[in-house]
């Protein structure tokens, strides 16, 4: 009992540290990456290669004055950034970041580095919590007593719920081919090869679903080319216009946390999790646990770099184009994807 609790505690601390560490690293990668793409230098003064810049940023944000504008609804105004962080943190916990390699400690199964092992409704849990992500956007916009914030808030929530539909229909195909909601089994179902030469990852067997999920993820995380809610040219900063200091930092942090969570989800659902292409490794013992986590981490890091790359490459959509893409293109294509999976499974191709 106590050993179990200690193991859970250690793993929770580990997961939290890993997740929170990605935020400053991503801030650094984004700033240096944007500089690289735009042929600038970027932050390079604080520490080697500007690596300590995010820490200085945090100190600066802490030192800023906390301003609560006169017209806000205080409770909702404070609640919005808090919910944003809570949602981003709690979704991550159900995602397996490494293989359960059968480790034991004092005669107790440790389940590798997976924090919440073998959750029978894993995927449903992740999306149920992730859906709460709409509330902070709407609450922040609504409670701020600011026209830009209000418009940004309604835009953000409309965009989030529109793309959520395409996103959820896109993963129906994954559920069909793996026949489970357990994220570990979804990853295990993607081991081996498909059609003789391709890795059996869902991205190869369901390319449309993977593409739609990826696009929807960009829209859900409010990243360019879908950053209409905070389009700085027209809405100042969108729903967090009236937030300053540490409250703004909470929104900022939740955005990067969402990116990490989204990249992990894409890895689990479509990129085969910790499976290496063409190579079958049993992943046993401590080495196996660490190796599987490393493979997973590399995939997530690649995806995160892709996020940055896209942001500094593509221009922003117009709002009507955004909604038209979501409802008229993504939803029918997502339905088409799982019809394809159904037919392919019936014919024995999957």
């Amino acid at each position: 009992m106590w050993v179990d609790l200690i193991v859970i505690g250690v793993k929770l601390a580990f997961g939290l540290v890993v997740l929170l560490t990605t935020v400053p690293i991503m801030v650094w990668v984004e700033r240096r990456g944007s500089a690289l793409i735009q042929d600038r230098l970027g932050p390079n003064r604080v520490g080697p290669l500007g690596l300590f810049q995010p820490i200085v940023d945090v100190v600066k944000l802490l030192a800023k004055e906390v301003i609560t504008p006169a017209g806000v609804r205080p409770l909702l105004y404070i609640l919005a950034p808090a919910i944003a962080v809570i949602v981003a943190l709690s979704t991550f916990i159900a995602i397996p970041i490494g293989k359960d390699s059968g480790l034991e400690l004092f005669g107790h199964a440790v389940n590798g580095f997976i924090v919440a092992p073998d959750l029978n409704i894993g995927l449903l849990y992740v999306f149920a919590i992730a859906s709460f992500g709409v509330y902070p956007l709407l609450l922040a916009g609504w409670s701020s007593d600011n026209k830009y914030a209000l418009l940004g808030g309604v835009r953000a929530s409309a965009q989030a719920i529109s793309y959520e539909i395409a996103m959820i229909i896109a993963i129906v195909g994954v559920l069909m081919s793996s026949g489970t909601l357990r994220l570990q089994q979804i990853v295990d179902a993607q081991s081996g090869v498909w059609m003789g030469f391709l890795p059996h990852w869902n991205v190869f067997s369901q390319p449309i679903g993977a593409l739609i999920f990826m696009v929807a993820v960009f829209a859900e995380t409010n990243r360019l080319p879908f950053d209409l809610p905070e389009a700085d040219a027209e809405l100042v900063a969108g729903y967090h216009t009236e937030y300053s200091s540490i409250r703004f930092a909470a929104f900022y942090m939740s955005e990067y946390l969402h990116m990490t969570v989204a990249a992990s989800l894409v890895t689990v659902l479509f990129l085969g999790g910790w499976n290496l292409p063409w190579i079958d490794i049993p992943f046993e013992g401590w080495a196996g646990a660490l190796l599987s986590m490393g493979v997973f981490g590399i995939k997530v890091a690649t995806l995160l770099w892709f996020f940055v790359w896209v942001r500094w490459t593509l221009p922003r959509f117009r709002y009507d184009q955004l909604m038209a893409l979501g409802w008229k293109v993504m939803v029918p294509l997502a339905v088409l994807n799982f019809l394809w999976v159904g037919v392919a499974m019936a014919l024995g191709y999957m």
């Binding site: 793993k11 906390v66 504008p69 914030a149 129906v172 009236e242 540490i246 009507d320 019936a346």
Partner: protein, 118 residues
């Protein structure tokens, strides 16, 4: 049941993280209150009206209603997809009928211009 203990504990941690962060802001308080600072931002001039009096497009409401319809649909898709292998052809055809009915609604909404933003 055991599988949900970590979830419960982590939810508590997740809730306490933003509380701690926002408490830090309470402790480390710089600057002073000023009525001008507390004005809502609007191009640097005084706000012309209370923000919630601003009218925004009715289409946002329409999108919310459509979302409810289609999100409920996806709820039905989930359990079907998980046991798809066992349902075989019968289940597949049944879902096609369900989708056909939804498609009619979808096309109706499209034809009526619910998805247009012009």
């Amino acid at each position: 049941m055991d599988h949900y203990v970590p979830i419960l504990i982590f939810t508590l941690i997740a809730v306490s993280v933003p509380i701690i962060i926002l408490m830090i802001a309470k402790v480390v308080r710089f600057g002073s209150y000023d009525p001008v600072k507390a004005e809502p931002y609007e191009c640097g001039i005084e706000a012309t009206s209370f923000a919630l009096d601003t009218r925004f497009s009715i289409r946002y409401y329409l999108i919310a209603v459509l979302f409810v319809v289609f999100d409920v649909e996806t709820i039905f898709l989930f359990p079907w997809a998980v046991v798809f292998d066992e349902l075989a052809l019968f289940g597949f055809i049944e879902m096609m009928v369900f989708l056909a009915i939804l498609l009619v609604g979808y096309l109706y909404a499209w034809r009526r211009g619910a998805l247009e933003w012009a």
